[in-house]
């Protein structure tokens, strides 16, 4: 058994100026699509978690692009069959939302053990495709914000 995960994570929506959104298909749950996600390591800053997860899951160096903290937190219940990976009694996770804007869609380098496929979708289709409600909300917010500084809008 690996060590427990922290109930704090990041969600990084990778998108382009044309509001295309990068989605990844989970390897453990084929057919389930989502943005980049990952749990914070102990002592790790949220921004560093975002940089690390983007690198691990796509091979991209997020520091070369506009990585913005939307200062949005999603608090949700951890799916029961995932709870065993968290400390005993932890049932809720806090997710911090980031945005990463690329100039145009690019092919990404997947982590084979985490994802099966990637695709770039128009924001409407991407919002339809993702299974997590908080992921969907983030994509819709991206579209409604004028996407330059989504975090600035309320």
């Amino acid at each position: 058994m690996t060590r427990y995960k922290q109930p704090v994570s990041v969600l990084v929506v990778i998108y382009t100026a044309g509001l295309e959104v990068l989605l990844l298909e989970r390897a453990d749950h084929p057919g389930y699509w989502q943005s980049v996600t990952g749990s914070c390591e102990p002592g790790e800053a949220l921004r560093d978690t975002a940089l690390r997860e983007v690198r691990e899951e796509t091979g991209l160096d997020a520091s070369r692009y506009a990585l913005t903290d939307w200062h949005t937190q999603n608090d949700y219940e951890i799916y029961p069959h995932w709870r065993h990976r968290y400390p005993p009694g932890v049932t809720r996770n806090t997710e911090h939302v980031f945005g990463l804007q690329l100039p145009c869609p690019v092919d990404v380098q997947l982590a084979p053990r985490e994802h099966l496929n990637f695709q770039w979708l128009a924001w409407q289709d991407a919002a339809e495709q993702v299974f997590s409600p908080s992921n969907r909300a983030a994509i819709l917010r991206l579209a409604g914000s004028g996407h330059e500084h989504p975090g600035a809008l309320k």
Binding site: M1, A27, P30, G31, H81, R113
Partner: protein
Amino acid sequence: MSNKKIYSRTKLGDSVLEDPQGIISGDELLLMALIDGRTSVEGIASKVPPSVRAHLDGIFARLLSAQIIEVTGDAGFGSASENSDLVAAFETSLSMPARQPAGGDAEASRRCTELELELAGVRGKLDAAKARQKEVEAGFHKLKLRVSAYTEVRYARLSKLLRELASYPEHELRAILESELNDALENLQPLNQAMAEQQQVLDKTLSMQSFQGQIHAKQLQSERAADEARMAQAHPHYKKLRGLEFFKGFANAELLQFLEIAKWQEAKAGDTVLNEGDVGMPFFIIVSGAVTVFKGENRLATLDRGDFFGEFAYLSGEEPYRSARVVAETACELLMVDPLDIEFSAVQLRLHVVEALLRGQVRRTLISSKPMDSLPGDDLPNAPDAASP
């Protein structure tokens, strides 16, 4: 006018004196009392106050004209002149003009006769009016008597009743009241009975309605069950699944729901369904055909219709890596089920799935007849099917 004249009261005069009734004034009454048929006017005048004496002639004239007094004697004149005096007095009282000087005695006599006749008529009318007045008075008096008598009788009756009521002993009063109460209760009884009958009818109606409701609910239930059964029968894979051990506890609706979630998959003989070390959480249920489970080159088990595999990652809580390789031994029909889909579905369905997986695990443990810590996959050489090729 001579002061020697003597007056007497007439019959009318007597009655007026007894009961004046405002017909004559006080002065006139005083003179009436003094007139006795013997005392002359002169004598009377000496007995009255000067204020009365000054109008004495006028007063006598009025009394004469009202027939209350009459002349009965004259101490100084003959009776012949009586009439002319009387007429003079009468004329004065009626405010007639004074005696006409031009007229002779004959004229006066004729006139006198006329007046006497007239006077007699007036007197008759007056008598009739008086009599009528007396009648009315008598009638009024009788009425008054009758009213007071009636009031007295009523009062007497009322007080008698009160006396009687007061005289009843308490137990008698109670008896009377009780008998009245009994009467009232007796009247009430049929009413109560009628009400009870109505209540019975109402109860019956209500129970009928409730019964109808139950029947209706049962009908709805059976209709719904029939609908579900029809829908299930119509599903291409329903019959294949219904007979499987895994779905024993599933209602038709749940089975249909499960078919929505699960992905139908077919494999040819020799196809690799799962590779050891691959990432993946879904588990598989074998609908038809058979698969073989390998750990490395070792054959762990052969599974067939109704069995499941690939559940280790889901149930163990470990990282989602495949712990064995699974190869189709024959052509297979498989249901692939992602645990996330199960978590998104109804609690009841999730419970059934987990129970089915648990029952399967327990069966395998019993069949292996080995300790819990040496389940297939953990101890390769000793696994039950490892020896068979």
